[in-house]
Symmetry: C3
Subunit: 254 residues, 3 copies
């Protein structure tokens, strides 16, 4: 496939990196591999901490793959595609290790969802965010619970309604999405490295118990996010969305 | 009656304007007309977006009408009056269209509730807010759920306890009540106009589905806000409140 | 015992002060007296408002007593010790009077919990906060619900994970823990005095009804915080924690 998901283990930390040549967009294949990699790291006795990052230096994640959105023909295919995000978020939720997200650049749609589902997100000032879903005739249904939990209803609804607006990394920090916002990539990496070093020396049982209380109340997300995937899977077939995706891809080609 | 509620339709947007000569305060008649206007806009197939605003250039809304508060004689009359706010908030909640609130000036009590129940509030720096209820021996019971949902418990409780304190529009923005705070009325109107133009071109079904997830968890508000209206309706008859209202009206006269 | 809990009544206000020579740390005896003092003030007809403060000019509260943590030998003793915090928080929750916390200096662990469980916390810029629990192999389990309710999940989880990091009083203010942050102790005391004077002239029934809606949804905390105390009580016996406490006390001695 185009792109990759790689896991590396070092000093108690499993670092999971994803990549896709189209601005780190996410086709179902990468979503599935991501969910599996997170599961594996969660079950690995040596792993005390997970770091989630993407390759490259520009966009952290541009959300759903437009090629795949364009290829969806039935409600069932739609639901299946959006379930890919549900599986990743639920893997992050149920992983008994803390997950630090390293956000080096822009986040769009599902990419914002990854940051929100992490237990601690560290970003640079390049990490502007946007929920462009509504402009495509869909909505942030699957990632919604993760965003609302992390940022509160107001920030979530502002991002959703003002779908063409980029919000700064500082804004995302104030709203709780990013725990830290650094001026430079070096600053971010230094801080992550220091925190990772500290956390890997903490008690694993205590961290697993804490993670459970962080996610208390989200026990129904296996089902909830599937229901949300079904809503997106239906909307994605609307003439509005078909047209929006076609226009977007033509613009890209030219 | 004194004051009015007007609806105007233009380019997919229904704009609902209320007015009352006493600083846009809200008697039951205006509350009822407001709830009905919102219902109608919600059911109107041509309407893709609702804008809620008030007339004049000073106070956006000063909350409950003091004349009506003063005239309440029984618990049942009290409950009925405060139900007026419950009906407006529930109409906003169940309206399948996004509601943008245009907040051009100060908001007090129930006026803050209107801003909070909107899906997206755009304000100017003149839009200071205050919950003066406790100073009158009552409390923000009916609007409480809308405020807590929108701003979180801390901002809601700070406003409630420190009932004599005006908080700036910027503060309200940081706490999530206002999605945007503009320096000038022109800036606010330009931004609303641009956003309205964008939203009216989006997919109506997608917006209706998104609105549903924004309000998930508030399905019991028909009953909850009635219970809250009953608490206010009882407190408003206390000697403390009788006295506070009398003093306030005397001050106004002089 | 070392330290004290004192209650003083003046002009409608009961001021409860605690003190411990080791940086206002909290042994079970002080926690129990604190819970009782809050109960008494809640039931006292003359008391319209409670102010919670600590003695001294440096640390507001350094959290659990290390001496007592070190002396815990069984799961049951552990649960019992952490129940002390549960009793204080539940006393604050069920007290029908507003509780203002006066935070004159640093808050650690359980001390942050006291600030969070108050209805309105006023602080100075010296009031930096930290949740150091995880560094000791335990976690902010008992105080967690109070912190999450007051600051939201993001601020709570950031504090918990980055357990060695002090956050400024300004940060705590932005996140909702402190309603006011003053430059000086004098400024803080003046503001508390003014607010107390206002609140004691408000209607007691209205305030009691408002307090109920602030705490709506926390009715299960008697049980929930006991469950949380049991988690902490078990973790505190781990070799990791034994070792961390031993190191900390040796450092103090030298």
């Amino acid at each position: 496939m185009n792109g990759h998901v790689k896991s590396e283990f070092h000093n108690g930390v499993t670092t999971i990196e994803f990549f896709h040549p189209q601005s780190n967009s996410l086709p179902l294949k990468i979503l599935d591999e991501l969910a599996q990699a997170i599961h594996r790291a969660g079950n690995d006795d040596e792993t005390k901490l997970v770091i989630l990052m993407s390759a490259g230096e520009k966009v952290f994640c541009s959300g759903a793959s437009f090629d795949e959105l364009a290829s969806i023909q039935t409600i069932e295919e739609g639901r299946e595609f959006f379930s890919g995000f549900a599986h990743v978020i639920n893997a992050m939720r149920t992983c008994p290790k803390f997950i630090i997200a390293r956000i080096h650049g822009k986040c769009v749609g599902g990419g914002v969802g990854l940051a929100a589902a992490a237990d601690y997100a560290v970003a640079t000032e390049q990490a502007e965010i946007r929920l462009s879903e509504l402009g495509l005739g869909i909505g942030p249904f699957v990632i919604g619970p993760a965003l609302e939990r992390r940022m509160g209803l107001s920030a979530f609804s502002q991002l959703t309604i003002d779908a063409s607006m980029w919000r700064s990394a500082q804004w995302a920090g104030r709203k709780g999405l990013f725990a830290e916002v650094h001026l430079t990539t070096e600053g971010m990496d230094e801080s992550i490295s220091k925190l990772a070093n500290t956390l890997t020396h903490y008690d694993a049982t205590a961290m697993a118990e804490i993670k459970k209380i962080f996610w208390k109340g989200a026990e129904n997300w296996d089902q909830l996010l599937q229901e949300r995937a079904a809503i997106s899977g239906k909307l994605v077939l609307s003439p509005f969305t078909r047209n929006a995706i076609m226009k977007f891809r033509e613009k890209k080609k030219n």
